[in-house]
Symmetry: D2
Subunit: 388 residues, 4 copies
Amino acid sequence: MPQKTLNVGLIGYKFMGKAHSNAYRQVGRFFDELEVKPVLKAICGRDEAGVQRAAGLMGWEGYETDWRKLIARDDIDIIDIAVPGNLHAEIAIAAAKAGKTILCEKPLGNTAAEAKAMYDAVREAGVKHAIYFNYRKMPAITLAKQLIDEGAIGKIYHWRATYLQDWIVDPNFPLVWRLRKDLAGSGVNGDLNAHLVDTARWLVGEIDEVSSVMETFVKQRPELAATDDRMGGVASDVMGEVTVEDASLFLARFASGAVGTFEASRFALGRKNYNQFEINGSKGSVQFNMERPNELNIYTEDTHAGTFGYRTVSVTSGQDPYSGHYWPTAHNIGYEHTFINFLFDVFTALGKDEMPSPNFYDGYVNNVILETVEKAAETKKWENVPSV
Amino acid sequence: MPQKTLNVGLIGYKFMGKAHSNAYRQVGRFFDELEVKPVLKAICGRDEAGVQRAAGLMGWEGYETDWRKLIARDDIDIIDIAVPGNLHAEIAIAAAKAGKTILCEKPLGNTAAEAKAMYDAVREAGVKHAIYFNYRKMPAITLAKQLIDEGAIGKIYHWRATYLQDWIVDPNFPLVWRLRKDLAGSGVNGDLNAHLVDTARWLVGEIDEVSSVMETFVKQRPELAATDDRMGGVASDVMGEVTVEDASLFLARFASGAVGTFEASRFALGRKNYNQFEINGSKGSVQFNMERPNELNIYTEDTHAGTFGYRTVSVTSGQDPYSGHYWPTAHNIGYEHTFINFLFDVFTALGKDEMPSPNFYDGYVNNVILETVEKAAETKKWENVPSV
Amino acid sequence: MPQKTLNVGLIGYKFMGKAHSNAYRQVGRFFDELEVKPVLKAICGRDEAGVQRAAGLMGWEGYETDWRKLIARDDIDIIDIAVPGNLHAEIAIAAAKAGKTILCEKPLGNTAAEAKAMYDAVREAGVKHAIYFNYRKMPAITLAKQLIDEGAIGKIYHWRATYLQDWIVDPNFPLVWRLRKDLAGSGVNGDLNAHLVDTARWLVGEIDEVSSVMETFVKQRPELAATDDRMGGVASDVMGEVTVEDASLFLARFASGAVGTFEASRFALGRKNYNQFEINGSKGSVQFNMERPNELNIYTEDTHAGTFGYRTVSVTSGQDPYSGHYWPTAHNIGYEHTFINFLFDVFTALGKDEMPSPNFYDGYVNNVILETVEKAAETKKWENVPSV
Amino acid sequence: MPQKTLNVGLIGYKFMGKAHSNAYRQVGRFFDELEVKPVLKAICGRDEAGVQRAAGLMGWEGYETDWRKLIARDDIDIIDIAVPGNLHAEIAIAAAKAGKTILCEKPLGNTAAEAKAMYDAVREAGVKHAIYFNYRKMPAITLAKQLIDEGAIGKIYHWRATYLQDWIVDPNFPLVWRLRKDLAGSGVNGDLNAHLVDTARWLVGEIDEVSSVMETFVKQRPELAATDDRMGGVASDVMGEVTVEDASLFLARFASGAVGTFEASRFALGRKNYNQFEINGSKGSVQFNMERPNELNIYTEDTHAGTFGYRTVSVTSGQDPYSGHYWPTAHNIGYEHTFINFLFDVFTALGKDEMPSPNFYDGYVNNVILETVEKAAETKKWENVPSV
């Protein structure tokens, strides 16, 4: 079959750049039915040696060292933004003006105002857009969505979520970019709560109001001497101020009447990537934990009386739109496949000239909620989430 | 050895009466070293047929149908209060005036004012007192306390607790006494959050301020036609108003600087008695769940590098003051043993003429915190916990 | 109601004596419907100081130091045998001749010949008899039996069981009686495999043939200087030979066509009381582990398509004949309750003048199977289990 | 750096062909340090339409429909054999004669004689060879090997392994190639036990003797009408005989003195890909389950006294040679990465002109052990594993 392609220009080549590159390479290998497939045209980064090496390693045809040049290229259809949040708005608005399709990492903006400007820009330009809330695309979470939509869980009463990590408990861990407000915009809010909020909105619906507490447990850390390829770096002997929150906890009321808890922290020793939620409804419950990402725990009372219990379901058998494309049942997939599945949905939508989901609208609402959480932490009151 | 005994008069013969009776019968059988042991002198209830039957079944020498008569008896040393909360204050104050030692079920009062009156009364009378926060005495929780006290967990950053049940999700479940404010004082706050608050205070320390949300998901239920021996009953065909909360969630700041979440609900399908907490500190974490009560999950980094992980410890080998008195390792004990262990501590203290712990002070503070949670739910602001 | 009682004489006052005593004291407290209840008449042991102390602690009216005298007493209706296996046959046969009801600890005999003699004796005497295969009475295992009997698991293909402990991995652990063939008859076979074999027979049916391997990993240990109240003791500085097996593994073919594995070991570090089995049938599976004794894991495919998975069921709600007598759902019971439940069944049967189950027949068959396992380890061939 | 490449010709394009193709594409993307990288030169299959489509989808430069032509091509350095076992020997011997490096799926041969011929052929030809025992390369299993090698587990007493699946419990599931002896050589032995045996040999050492039982529970099934891309197919309405075993269980004695159990079955409802083992040694234990492939459960007693317990370790942080090349801690990898890691080791070895591991020697010994298992099932005796 004659196949269409779209040329991608990716900005950023560290952790997220690596994850996105892998997904572009792999999506067409597992999702043969895609009518439009990506071409890894160019990757962009400021350090020429670094980006050149990344281009070769990650499979890009070429590279750029200036994102403006990348956007200016006629042979680029899609701009993928995988850099720290302080650059998202400027790049995305420029890309929108240039008529590019835009795929952006989360959080959309470092502030709700930035996010609004980005959302306005893509609508004004009439371009397609999407945001990497990749966890929606984990088959187990998608199955949870399906169960909720078909009514198997009933009316939802409770949302209960944590995103816990422990990589900065050591006070000598250095001031990487994620600990700097000027670069990351926030701490665990934009990094971790952004994911929980997206999953909650998708599964439970919109959030009306929040009450919160935020805390920075270690207020000074060594400045960063050098980064590594994962999430760490080398500490210098100069101390600097931590300008973001280590932990952010909030209560929420949903429009549906459900109540919820959210907690994000990088100070939970023993929890490595504990992106976890539980939903309790009038007919059943679901529970998920990204540390065991192929499993959905489900409780319903539609089986043999007296034998009700949470059951662990291996969501690897094609119960969802993704898992059937990979391996046999319980031959697990992993973290990287959330990005591949995300791109499957994005390129499916682009092939039909439809808007992908989730997109900048979801990113904008997400930013507004996170900003309301910050506000509530300051006012020490319940705060309404402004409508957008 | 010549052994001292103390005569007990127990008020209440349903669920808690049964649990207390069992503990009185059993404590001396497993804790031979006790120098003072209880005698099951009399049990008290309003329904003569019921209480007579209970006396025989549960091993009491006699019975009374009027608690005032029980308190008036000279041969009673200890009054044990195991009735709904609306009667606690009146009974306890009368018993204090009569010079009795008092062991009271939680919550101490149905209001903080009642609790204060009770605490004042026992201090004025100079009598010994204790409160059945029995979960402190589960060996796994006691081991957590020991680890915290010796510094193995380090400075505590996070408390994260839920007490979830699902026995009233069905809207046709009737209006048992626990769903009536006039009898129970509150819903999940006094019933479930009271336990979480006690464990939190014991393990993490005092709570400074709270923000909360409370909800009653099912606002009308059938009136109760008859009770059963467990927690249920028979529904009539008349509807009545549910006057207590089904769920209560709150955020907390501890005096130590830790932050915490608390959630109690009877609407969490699949969670049957999910009295669960996790503590994250600078050196380690502990996690407990009453559905697997013999286990403490511990994370520390003092073992082989690269092999850190939460470990499941069977707390059945005498690592604590209790478990060594029962059976060999991993020959588990259960719920009822928390009461036996509680009485071991109480009678050990009484043998030394010391005040047992936890006692009415803990009950009073607990009531004050729960009332602050209720207040915060109304004001929709963070509220300081008044000092007592 | 006028209530009948039967007077019990218990021989043995260590671990099993303690467990049986507790069960006699408690069974009538939780199972009010019993028409015949035990009276703790006399406990028997050779060491007068020890047995006198035990009598007081464990609630017996009196004591004896000679089991023959106990059996000779007219006021004793039931003889309970809770001593090491080398004494079972002599005591049981004498008790049968004296017309007593006999409750005997497992294994019934130290050899199949002893077991046969005991079984012959009780039949000849026409007395009632039972054997303490107490794990049958754990509610979760009973529920497994119910599910199998009603066909929910279908035709059984696989049995897979382990009973693993780790209390003698240390080569300096002393030669307690369980490590001496003259007293215990065997090592893990009689102690642990006896339980697995009983559960297998109850749930899957009779065993036709076996192939096995047995091993003693630590062949010499310090002689015992003194015992303790649990399963250990104090090592002397004299070494002695370990005369029983540390581990015993066998394959089995069942009469039903199912195949199975059995493994018992005291050398499995980390497994404390891992009495565990899994059954796979044509319609479902069940899995149980005594370290989490209130849970049965069940797999069936009778619920929502695409959401099949092992579910963890809290067997604490009266799904079985026992759990409803104790506490509300998920207020767990423990090891000791298997003995209480056992006695409930025994005294229910005695009340109806029926033979309790399991009884000496089950003990005899069990001994025959274990002896066939020993034989197969020697011949290194599959061996048929002789019919009895 | 000037980089060497080796051209690969892959025979087979179904499940294993897909897994190998993915690994060839991905290995150089994550393991930048490789000095020799694969080129996906040609894929081979009999059905031209199918193989052509596969070549495009999976990233191969070209294709062949006759494996003899593929072997004859001068531009092919490596022959990868990913077809059913009945073709392994003929292809491998031809490839060896042609001087190719050979990577072969397991089991090496359909019989030990075939495996010997293959092993002889590669030695005679002096070519490099490897066998896809890919599970050795799961980071958690590699960590287990490291712990054992450094003595952290001590002397090994027990091996206990199961590989359980449930995809053919339905008697109407059709006669796919894995259920035909003429194609697959055996049932679960070559498919599942081959993996367990390899892991056991790697972690515990050589096996001296075995006793076994094998069973075919469903003896007739519908003939296959059409295959699918996973492990199933479409049933016709003609019945055919199942010529392989559904389950194979065996006991083993290792040369080291350890004893072990192995069980492979496709009739264990609820177990989807339960490739699971536990090792107990004198100092600790390890436990692994491929359904949670990023986790190793470890028990050692080198931490705080009284808090020993199995701990769940996320092996995703570079504790092993592989996991550090992918994503941050607890951002899990999956099944497909075992193949990528395998190729990393293979190409590392080829870059140094060394023999990869595991290789045809391991495959040959594996076949000999499996054949001894089959023999023991027939003789119903313990059988010695012949030395090779």
